[in-house]
C-alpha cells in the first residue's frame, strides 16, 4: 500500500507533519505535526502545527517556462518557546540553514490509534525560509519557498583568480609567483562557467613570468583564463578547437577609438623555414591547461586557461636575449624577410615596440599582446554530465543538471532528466554563466546577464523548450511537452478524474498565459557573433501554418527566447529545432480532493466532464498535462491547472503494438525444427500442429541458436514461409543448403509476417474496429525471406 493507492479514497484520516534539518537532512533536528505521534516508531513529532497553520502549497510550471518557486507558509505554536531556535538575530544562522520537509499522511481511521506503519506518507516538498521567521507571543510564522528561492535563488560561488594564485607554487600554476594583471581585472574576479560549443569570450589575459628575475624573459607566458570547471580529469588539447583574438591594428598615428579592431585566428601550431635545406621547424603557439584543484564552498574546481607564446606565434619577434628554439633562432638570425611563415599571428598584432626601460626586456614582454582587445576560444569547458568526447553539441538538460547538482547543491531527479533529454534531442545549448553582471563581457548582443542561478536556468529552459521545477520530493526535475514512450504507453492506466470528483472550468489561454495559442512566432535573445563578424540572425516572424487560428483571420503572435540556443540553430529556421506547439489547447482549472496530490507537474492524467447526459461535455477521458498544483490544507482540496493534450491519444508516435500478439508459437513446444533434405523445407517433430497454431503463408520462421558464433548466420536468421505443407512441415522462400540440421524447440519460433498481421477482423479482441497497428516485423516484399547478407538478423 502507498499514498497513491489510497489517497483518492473517501473516509481517510490525515496528518500533516514537518521535518526540520539544519544539515541538509543528514539528520532531523526538529519534528512538528498537526497531531502528535511517533511516526517513525521512535521519535515524537510534537503537535505544533495548529489548525490553519500550514498555508496552501502552491507549485506550478512557470509562464514561458520560467523556473517558478513553490511556496507556502507555516505557523508553529510557540507559547512555550520551543521554536525560539529559529527566531531573531541570535539564531539567524540556524534560520538560514533550516530546511523543511512537509508531509501529508493518510490512513483508514479505526477504533484504535493506528500503528505508525499504517500511515501512508507523501512528501509535499522541501523548503527553506523565503523570509526570516516572524515571532509573536505564542507562535512563529515562517514563509517557505523551495530551492528556486533557496539554493538556486542566488549566484554561484566560483573560484577567482586570487584563489588560483593561492593554491600554491606547483608546476602547473603559472600565476603563483609573479603576475601582471590588466587594470580591468581585479584579482578577486570569479571565473565563469561555459557550456556548449560556440565562441566564448575569455577573460583578459595575464602576463606571467618566472621568478628568475629580469632578463629571464623567455619564461614569460601569456595566460588567458577561460572558465572554471568541476571536471577534474586530465586536460585534453582537443578541449579547444580554435582561438581568435580581436586586436587593434596600426597605424599608431590614430587614437584607439579611431581604429577598427580586427579578429584574427591563431593556430595551435606554426612552422618556420629558415631558407636552408633544413626541414621546417614546427612550434606550438598555444596550449590549453588546467590549474591545480581549487576548493571553494565545499566544491572542487579547476580553471581552464590558455598558455600562449609570448610572441603570439610570430617567430620574427623572438626577443633578443631569449632562448628560443634553436631552429627558430636560426631563422631569426637569417633573412627574416624571407621566412616562410605559416600560421601564427600577424606580427603587427604584437606590440613590438621595445620600450627602453631600466627594467630591461621584461617591459617589452609586458607589452606583448598589448594590442589584443579580446580573446575568443571555442570549446565546451564546464560540462561534467555527459560531456561530449570531442567538440560537439551539449544537451540543455546536461547543462542544467551540471548547474543544479554540480555547481550548486541541489539534487536532480535523474530519471526525469534522462527522460526529458531523450524526448528533446535537439535541445542543445550554448552559454556562459557568470557570477557578475557586466554584459559587455559576453560574446553576445543580448540582455544583461542574469544574476541568480534561477534566472540562468529560466533562460536555459526557455531556450530549450523544457520546464525545470522542484518535484514533490525536493528534487530538481524536468518536463517537456514531448510525447514520449512513457506517456504513450501509460495512456491506458492514467489517473482519471471524473466530474463527481471535481469542480472545473476551462478556457483557451490567451497571450501571456502558459500554453497560449499562437500562429506567428518571433524569437528573442539571439546572439550576434563578433568573432565571425556576424550580427544577430533573423528572428522572425515565422508563421505557423498548422495553427488552429488561420493567420488570415487573426494574427496571434508569440515571442520565444533563444539566447541559449547554439548559434547554428539560431541561424536556421528555428521551427526546425524548437519544440513549439502551435495547436490551440484548452486550459482547465479544477478543484478536487486530496487525491489530486497523486499528480506531479508535467505529468499526464485524464478528465471526464460530461455536464450531464443531455447537454454533453467537452471531455470524456481526455488527456491533460498538469502544470499547476495547489494543495489547500484548510479543506484538503487540490487545485489543478492543466493543458489539454488529448492529441497524444490520436497522433501516435511510437510502436505500441503488443508483440506477443504476433507470435504463432514460441519455445516450450516439444518439437524440434529440422532442415529437410529437400531444399527450403523444414520439419517439426513432436506434437507440433502448425495448423492449430494458425501458421499460414507469409508468416516468419525465426531461428535463434544461442551457440552459434557471432560471425556465422546459418542458425541465426529468419525465413518467410511460402507454404504450409502439413501440420508438421513448412516450405520457405529461400533456405541455405545445409540439410539435416536440428534446432532445439526452445530456439525457434514462428511469428506473423507483413501480410498476416492481426487486424480488427482477424483479432477483434485485441484490435477493435478502427484500431491501428503500428510497425511491422518485416515487409510484404519479403525483405527477410532470403539469406543474403542484408536480410540477416542479429549481427547480420
Amino acid at each position: 500500500m502507498s499514498f497513491d493507492t489510497i489517497a483518492g479514497l473517501p473516509g481517510l484520516e490525515r496528518i500533516i507533519r514537518c521535518d526540520v534539518s539544519l544539515n541538509g537532512f543528514s539528520s532531523i533536528a526538529y519534528r512538528y505535526a498537526t497531531r502528535a505521534g511517533r511516526y517513525d516508531g521512535t521519535n515524537w513529532w510534537t503537535r505544533r502545527i495548529p489548525t490553519g497553520g500550514l498555508g496552501s502549497i502552491s507549485r506550478r510550471l512557470g509562464r514561458d517556462r520560467i523556473a517558478a518557486a513553490s511556496t507556502t507558509s507555516l505557523v508553529l505554536e510557540n507559547a512555550d518557546g520551543g521554536v525560539d531556535w529559529i527566531c531573531g538575530r541570535e539564531h539567524i544562522a540556524d534560520a538560514a540553514a533550516a530546511r523543511f520537509r512537509i508531509y501529508i499522511g493518510v490512513f483508514q481511521p479505526g477504533p484504535n490509534p493506528p500503528a505508525h506503519t499504517d500511515i501512508q506518507w507523501k512528501q509535499l516538498g522541501e523548503f527553506v525560509c523565503a523570509q526570516w521567521p516572524k515571532q509573536n507571543n505564542d507562535a512563529v510564522q515562517i514563509a517557505l519557498s523551495d530551492d528556486f528561492m533557496g539554493r538556486l535563488g542566488s549566484g554561484l560561488q566560483l573560484p577567482t583568480i586570487a584563489d588560483w594564485k593561492l593554491v600554491g607554487n606547483t608546476s602547473n600554476n603559472p600565476i603563483y609567483s609573479g603576475v601582471g594583471l590588466p587594470s580591468t581585472l581585479t584579482v578577486d574576479t570569479p571565473l565563469q562557467l561555459a557550456f556548449g560549443e560556440d565562441w566564448l569570450l575569455a577573460l583578459p589575459h595575464i602576463i606571467a613570468w618566472g621568478n628568475s628575475g629580469v632578463g629571464q624573459t623567455y619564461e614569460a607566458k601569456i595566460i588567458v583564463p577561460i572558465c572554471a570547471t568541476a571536471d577534474l580529469s586530465a586536460v585534453s588539447q582537443d578541449l579547444i578547437q580554435d582561438v581568435r583574438v580581436e586586436w587593434l591594428p596600426p597605424p599608431e598615428t590614430l587614437e584607439d577609438n579611431q581604429r577598427a579592431s580586427q579578429v584574427i585566428a591563431i593556430q595551435r601550431s606554426g612552422s618556420i623555414q629558415d631558407g636552408t635545406a633544413n626541414a621546417p621547424t614546427t612550434f606550438t603557439t598555444w596550449t590549453v591547461e588546467k590549474s591545480p584543484t581549487i576548493t571553494k564552498g565545499g566544491k572542487s574546481f579547476q580553471i581552464v586557461y590558455l598558455v600562449v607564446r609570448a610572441d603570439l606565434g610570430d617567430a620574427r619577434f623572438e626577443p633578443v636575449g631569449s632562448s628560443p628554439d634553436a631552429a627558430v633562432a636560426r631563422a631569426v638570425a637569417g633573412r627574416q624577410s624571407e621566412l616562410a611563415y605559416q600560421g601564427g599571428y600577424p606580427p603587427d598584432a604584437v606590440d613590438s615596440i621595445a620600450t627602453p626601460s631600466p627594467a630591461g626586456q621584461s617591459v617589452t614582454f609586458a607589452r606583448r599582446a598589448a594590442r589584443v582587445l579580446r580573446w575568443y576560444v571555442k570549446g565546451r569547458f564546464s560540462a561534467v554530465t555527459n560531456p561530449p568526447g570531442t567538440l560537439g553539441m551539449e544537451h540543455s538538460v546536461d547543462a542544467m543538471v551540471d548547474l543544479v547538482s554540480v555547481y550548486s547543491s541541489a539534487t536532480v531527479n535523474s530519471t526525469e532528466a534522462a527522460r526529458t533529454k531523450a524526448g528533446a534531442p535537439f535541445a542543445s545549448c550554448f552559454g556562459v554563466v557568470q557570477p557578475w553582471t557586466e554584459k559587455a563581457n559576453k560574446a553576445e548582443n543580448g540582455e544583461p546577464l542574469p544574476l541568480s542561478l534561477r534566472q540562468v536556468l529560466s533562460a536555459l529552459a526557455q531556450s530549450s523548450d523544457i520546464d525545470i521545477f522542484q518535484d514533490w520530493t525536493g528534487l530538481i526535475s524536468f518536463a517537456s511537452d514531448v510525447y514520449d514512450f512513457t506517456i504513450a504507453s501509460s495512456i491506458g492506466s492514467m489517473l482519471e478524474f471524473r466530474e463527481t470528483e471535481v469542480r472545473i472550468e476551462r478556457w483557451v489561454p490567451s497571450a501571456g498565459e502558459r500554453g497560449a495559442a499562437f500562429n506567428r512566432v518571433f524569437f528573442d535573445g539571439g546572439r550576434g557573433e563578433p568573432v565571425l563578424g556576424e550580427g544577430v540572425p533573423f528572428q522572425g516572424p515565422f508563421d505557423v501554418s498548422a495553427s488552429d487560428i488561420p493567420v488570415a483571420t487573426r494574427v496571434v503572435e508569440a515571442v520565444f527566447q533563444q539566447g541559449w540556443r547554439p548559434r547554428r540553430q539560431q541561424a536556421q529556421n528555428p521551427l526546425t529545432w524548437r519544440a513549439l506547439d502551435g495547436r490551440t489547447r484548452d486550459r482547465i482549472r479544477m478543484r478536487t480532493h486530496r487525491g489530486g496530490l497523486r499528480l506531479e507537474l508535467g505529468g499526464y492524467f485524464k478528465v471526464t466532464w460530461t455536464r450531464g447526459s443531455s447537454l454533453g461535455g467537452p471531455y470524456s477521458g481526455s488527456v491533460f498535462q498538469c502544470d499547476g498544483l495547489v494543495f489547500n490544507p484548510a479543506d484538503d482540496s487540490v487545485d489543478v491547472e492543466a493543458l489539454w493534450r488529448d492529441d497524444v491519444q490520436t497522433e501516435r508516435s511510437y510502436i505500441l503494438d503488443d508483440e506477443t500478439l504476433l507470435v504463432r508459437s514460441k519455445g516450450g513446444l516439444s518439437g524440434n525444427c529440422t532442415e529437410n533434405a529437400t531444399p527450403e523445407v523444414f520439419d517439426f517433430g513432436g506434437t507440433i500442429n502448425l495448423t492449430t497454431m494458425g501458421v499460414v503463408n507469409g508468416d516468419i520462421l525465426i531461428i535463434r541458436e544461442a551457440s552459434e558464433a557471432a560471425d556465422s548466420f546459418l542458425y541465426n536468421r529468419t525465413y518467410r514461409i511460402a507454404q504450409v505443407n502439413s501440420t508438421t512441415q513448412i516450405e520457405v522462400h529461400t533456405a541455405h543448403t545445409e540439410t539435416g540440421h536440428v534446432t532445439a524447440n526452445a530456439e525457434w519460433s514462428i511469428v506473423r509476417g507483413a501480410t498476416t498481421y492481426p487486424t480488427a477482423i482477424s483479432d477483434p479482441t485485441n484490435y477493435p474496429s478502427g484500431g491501428d497497428l503500428y510497425g511491422k516485423v518485416t515487409q510484404a516484399s519479403g525483405l527477410y525471406s532470403d539469406s543474403s547478407t542484408g536480410n540477416r538478423l542479429l549481427s547480420g
Binding site: L12, E13, N112, T500, I504, T592, R594, A634, D635, D636
Partner: protein, 273 residues
Amino acid sequence: MSHGYATVNALTGLAAGSFTWSSGQTAGRDKLNDGVQDELALGSASAQASGQTLSVDLGSAVSLVGIALLGHNLSVGSCTVQVLADSVNTFATAVTAKATTTIPTTAPNDRDAVLQFPAVSRRYWRLVFGHSGTKTVSFGEILFLTTITTLTRSRAYGHGESERYVTNQNESSTGSVRATLLSGPIRTKRFSFRDMRGTAERDELMAMFRASRGGVTPLLWIDTIESVSTAATAAGQECLWSQMSESHGWTENDFSLYDVDGFELRGMSREVL
C-alpha cells in the same frame, strides 16, 4: 449525585526520574505529566504480564484525594487499577488508597477515568495494573489530584453532551462530497444550573470559572463525587479533562434566585498515535 472539579495536579513539574515503571521503561516518562495528552507514555517497551506497576516519588508527602488516568488504553483486556501509597519506596508499609477498580469499557468513558478516595498523605505512590494476558499500558496524561471541589447543587435538566469530529470537506460539481477526517471525537459537556437560592451556590460556579482562568487552566470535571477507598463504580470514574469558555456570568431572575449562564466544557485534545 454531586459533581466536582479539580484544577491542581501534584505531578506538574515533576522530573521524569520520579516515575518508575516496573518494566524498567524509561523512555517517554516525561509524557506522563507534560500537560497534554498528545504524546503517549508507554509502560513498557514490549507487552508485560499482569501486575505491572508505575511508582511515583513526589519528593515529600503530599495529600491526594484522587488520581485521573487520561487517554489510557485500559478499556481493552479487562483492566483494573489499584492505588497504593507509602512513606518508603519499597511499599512495605503501603496503604491502599483505592481498592482494585475495574476500568469502564464503554464509550465515551473508555479513555479517561478518575479514581477518588479519602485524603491520603504519602511521598510514594504506586499504581498497580491488572489485565488479562500481556499488555503494554499507555497513558496520555496522569493527574494526581490534591483537591476536588464539590459543587453543592446538582445540574439542572437540559444538560447534555456532544461529540465532534474535525473534518475537511470538498464538494464536486455534482454535489458529491469527499470528506477527510482530521481528528475526533472531541467530547463536550453542556451544563446549566438554575434557580439557585442566595449567592453561595452561584459563587461556587463562578469560582470554578475563575479556577479555570477562562479556559486557560485545564479543568478536570468529575461527574460523580465518590470519595471512597473501595473499588470505584463506573459512574464514579467518569471525568472530562476540559476547558471552559473565556467568559461566564450569572443572572438574578427573581428575588434571590440566580441562574448561572449555561456553559460548556470542551474536552482537551487527546489525538495520539
